[in-house]
């Protein structure tokens, strides 16, 4: 169960999210818990929200969600809100994180040319972020972070040849679903 604080014009809500089977979620808001479906609708910006028992006429619709700096632009049918989302228990997390951290080495899966390195030491990254692009023979492959965390080291630069197994970067991961970026 992950808790978020969502703020915006005339809006300050606590939203708790728990993953449920079948691509659905259990969502607790204003003291009530709902079964909510959330899935891609069109492209990478349009999402289908299927909020069972949700607010009148707001329950089933396509929404557009786009990052705008630190905010999220959410466009409904007609209206648009700029919202900010923060993990509600951010501070608490931070305290517990120090223990049980283990560095992760990200290595070249195959010999090739490092086309580009896309992270820097000290950078906070989400899971799935591209660390480097490696070109091996006739194809390119993107190396991604296995989890959110902090980049501790970067051991190569773009343009360098690497052998299979060379360490590209070292990541200090956060824990499970409680990561912060």
């Amino acid at each position: 169960m992950m808790k978020y604080t969502v703020t915006g014009p005339g809006l300050d809500l606590q939203v708790e999210v728990l993953e449920a089977p079948g691509g659905r979620y259990r969502v607790r808001v204003l003291g009530k818990e709902y079964d909510v479906g959330w899935s891609p609708a069109l492209g990478t910006t349009h999402w289908w929200l299927d909020w069972d028992g949700g607010p009148q006429d707001a329950g089933r619709q396509v929404l557009i969600v786009e990052p705008e700096g630190n905010d999220l632009g959410v466009t409904l049918d007609i209206d648009h809100l700029d919202l900010r989302v923060l993990p509600a228990r951010l501070v608490a997390r931070r305290r517990t994180r120090t223990e049980a951290q283990q560095d992760v080495e990200i290595r070249a899966p195959m010999p090739g040319l490092v086309v580009s390195v896309e992270v820097q030491p000290g950078q906070a990254v989400a899971a799935g972020v591209t660390v480097a692009v490696i070109e091996a023979m006739k194809m390119q492959m993107e190396l991604r972070t296995p989890a959110a965390g902090i980049v501790r080291e970067v051991r190569v630069q773009g343009g360098r040849e690497v052998s299979s197994g060379d360490v590209i970067a070292v990541l200090v991961p956060h824990r499970g679903g409680e990561d912060t970026v």
């Binding site: 959330w38 349009h46 607010p55 809100l81 390119q140 991604r144």
Partner: protein, 501 residues
């Protein structure tokens, strides 16, 4: 009488596609041109052949007369259709086509020149007994000062060479006149290369109603009824409908007759539109648009005629295919223009690459679109992406279908005016037909989010939380949009080259 067999289309986007479709229905070979960003645009792939233009800036692409004529020659074209905008109302281009032995699908050079000179055209139209707004001819600063009193304030300063709503200035008080004139003149030079200005009375809350006319080279002129175009932003139309809810049958008849008289006064030939301002039961002719209008489909929908076909036949020298009394109208039609502008941030143009599109369909729905995944939306061209046209036996049915169609439509990759359009067609005043040219201002007055129900706020908040959660807990591996596929291809390309034998 010369038959058109190979038609070069000197335009892009939805109107190029529209013209290609007309060619398909007439057995004419459509030939396209494209600027670099348009290389994989729908009009390029739907045409039988397509030729590249040197660069994206209009002057080097769709306004590039020299290159267009070279291509027409190379393509063996016997006619050129300019669409709307770009070279559509350019007398020099019409003349150059004639010299090159090409049919220009539009009015002849002379008509374009006459209609382009707003002041002169207005005089001819007034002489024909068609009411026009009190105004002046081209005026110097001194003359302006003098005649301003006669016209009365507030008044408008307009550019003689202007059009499309550009370069218009509203002057509230006599004190503001001199500075406004300086400003307007500077703009007129910059925008139209013509410093001449004229004054015209300003109406506080008119409706914009225009009449579609067809005129053949033998002097026959008919009208196809009116289009109500009062829903505008910055003098740009966004929603049109026909028939106009503001006209009585009697007024409609007088307006149609006035339109034909105005067209005759300027010696009009081909398809054109006579624009009026409607003030209660009084109407004033403001200009003749010597081109196919963006909003022509609503007239096609209720009359059953194909206006591009009509343009081509008239250009070939054929007489009009029907007489005034043979024109019939069925039901009601609406058009909404979907543009790449962000209605929640001052309608700023939104550039990007079309990632995916969902267009509406079903009974009474027509979509004219130039959209395809991977298409770049650049700052070089008009933001119009698609036109949604709905028909209904009644205005209410057409409106209900439009509501449904706009709800079905979605465009990913750029922001669009869809939210504004959905708001407008649901607005009680609009649904009642009770609106004027200042209707759209109400969208700006409407404070963002204020109108939102508690449920809608909660929905947005939950969506934001779920989006953030999904993004953190389970990275959505990037979907390869056609565009990124292109970039990838390009990357691999470079390898290919480096290794190429």
């Amino acid at each position: 009488m010369k038959r058109i067999r190979r038609l070069l289309i000197a335009n892009r986007g939805e109107i190029a596609v529209r013209i290609i479709r007309a060619c398909r229905a007439l057995g004419i070979t459509p030939l396209a041109v494209y600027s670099p960003v348009d290389r994989s645009a729908p009009h390029v792939r739907l045409a039988d052949r397509a030729w590249p233009l040197p660069a994206d800036p209009p002057a080097e692409s769709y306004l590039n007369i020299a290159r267009l004529l070279e291509i027409a020659r190379a393509a063996g074209a016997d006619a050129i259709h300019p669409g709307y905008g770009f070279l559509a109302e350019n007398p020099a281009f019409a003349a150059a086509c004639a010299e090159a032995g090409l049919l220009f699908v539009g009015p002849p050079e002379g008509v374009l020149a006459r209609c382009g000179d707003k002041v002169h055209a207005r005089e001819q139209i007034a002489q024909a007994g068609v009411p026009v707004l009190p105004g002046t001819g081209a005026v110097s600063e001194e003359e302006a000062q003098a005649s301003a009193g006669r016209i009365g304030y507030p008044l408008l300063i307009k550019a003689v060479g202007g059009g499309g709503g550009k370069g218009i200035h509203l002057v509230e008080r006599v004190a503001d006149l001199p500075s406004a004139l300086r400003l307007a003149r500077g703009e007129a030079v910059a925008a139209f290369g013509d410093p001449r200005l004229y004054l015209e009375r300003w109406l506080p809350r008119p409706r914009h109603v225009e009449v579609q006319i067809l005129a053949d080279a033998r002097g026959a002129i008919i009208h196809l009824g009116e289009r109500e175009c009062s829903i505008q932003r910055r003098h740009q139309k966004v929603i049109e409908e026909s028939p106009s809810p503001a006209l009585t049958p009697a007024l409609r008849e007088r307006l149609g007759a006035a339109a034909v008289a105005a067209a005759r006064a300027v010696g009009y030939v081909n398809a054109g539109t006579v624009e009026f301002l409607l003030d209660g039961a009084a109407f004033y002719c403001i200009e003749v648009n010597a081109r196919l209008q963006v909003e022509h489909p609503i007239t096609e929908t209720i009359t059953g005629l194909d206006l591009v076909e009509a343009q081509l036949r008239i250009a070939e020298g054929e007489p009009l295919a029907l007489r005034q009394e043979e024109v019939t109208w069925r039901g009601h039609a609406l058009e909404c223009r979907v543009g790449a502008e962000d209605p929640h941030h001052g309608f700023l143009p939104s550039v990007g690459v079309i990632e995916a599109v969902r267009e509406p369909g079903g009974p009474g729905v027509r979509v004219d679109s130039g959209l395809v995944p991977g298409l770049p939306v650049s700052r070089y061209f008009d933001p119009l992406l698609a036109k949604v046209i709905t028909w209904g036996a009644t205005r209410e049915a057409a409106l209900d279908r439009m509501e449904g169609a706009l709800a079905e439509m979605a465009v990913a990759g750029v922001r669009t005016t869809l939210p504004f359009l959905r708001w407008a067609v649901r607005d009680p005043a609009f649904r009642a037909g009770d609106y004027d040219v200042r209707f759209a201002e109400r969208w700006d007055e409407r404070r963002e989010g204020r109108g939102l129900s508690e449920g809608a706020r909660m929905t947005a908040a939950v969506a934001a939380a779920l989006w953030t959660h999904a993004r953190r807990a389970r990275p959505v591996l990037p979907r390869a949009s056609p565009e990124s596929a292109w970039r990838r291809a390009a990357r691999v390309e470079s390898l290919g080259d480096r290794e190429g034998e």
